[in-house]
Symmetry: C2
Amino acid sequence: MSKVIWKPGTFIYPLPVVMVSCGTMEKSNIITVAWTGIINSEKPMCYISVRKERYSHDIIEKSKEFVINLTNKDLVYATDWCGVKTGAKIDKFKEMKLDKEKSKFVKCPSIKQSPVSIECKVKEIKNLESHDMFIAEILSIDADEKYINEKGAFDITKCNLITYANGKYFALGKVLGKFGYSVQKKSRNSKKK
Amino acid sequence: MSKVIWKPGTFIYPLPVVMVSCGTMEKSNIITVAWTGIINSEKPMCYISVRKERYSHDIIEKSKEFVINLTNKDLVYATDWCGVKTGAKIDKFKEMKLDKEKSKFVKCPSIKQSPVSIECKVKEIKNLESHDMFIAEILSIDADEKYINEKGAFDITKCNLITYANGKYFALGKVLGKFGYSVQKKSRNSKKK
């Protein structure tokens, strides 16, 4: 075997690293989370796992709402900072010069500077050991108009998303292929070549 | 508001795109999954969500075991192919020229070509609408020795991981920062500059 057995650990990478906003327009907080993902497609459902002692944990537990804000190159510093600081005594929106925007379906603000904000309604809280898992329904995808191209499609290559792997934030690099490319028939043009 | 309200959708990106191996050394299958992530840190727990009609779904439901194999640039084609093809009548290991390696704690093989394989034991199956969510304990992280540096640390920048966002596979790009960099004091050297 060419592989070394390590102890069990949380080694699924690369992961999204999102800024979760919670609370209300008046009293809100931001927590950065990498333990997040999609769990169901129809209807769209996701989760975030949050340590029980985090300041945002109780806010989300009570309000049963949060907004997932995707992060990009311009937001790396704020993403890191909102992950290591506690919002108990500071206003993270103010400190990081982030703007609040009203959501349509939840009371929590979204972050204006984020390219895509995902409004979520908690359906179940699953008590695990270090973390609680907030299982949620996705109510709305709020996308910054500037990334929507002339065909009405969201151009994800334009918004400079970032990803997290083993303690580091990475930019996204080259596009290596499209979903399904391995089974697509070559076009006439490429056949001629 | 600068954002446009879209209908709800599964728009958390970028995501890991992993090859999940299941079954036994003799009769195994591979399914590519992006609906995966960490849900608890201590003890380490993760999930994969799989459509109920997929061939791997029943295998994992019965055996209660699977292995998450991280993917890299060399595996993009196989990653895409294993996501669109069904293993009902084909041997995906053979077709994609992937080698099986014995796992330590589960009966499923891991994929030798993957830089990191994560052995998982299903603890709960959560029935959602389109997907079932397999909630699992991480039993072992099996890492390819060639990515472990002279200090005994896994060098994630060396293994060319890939990520998935809105229908496209991306290489990882530049490192933008380390976890906690926003609150680190500058070293004496950098202060002098």
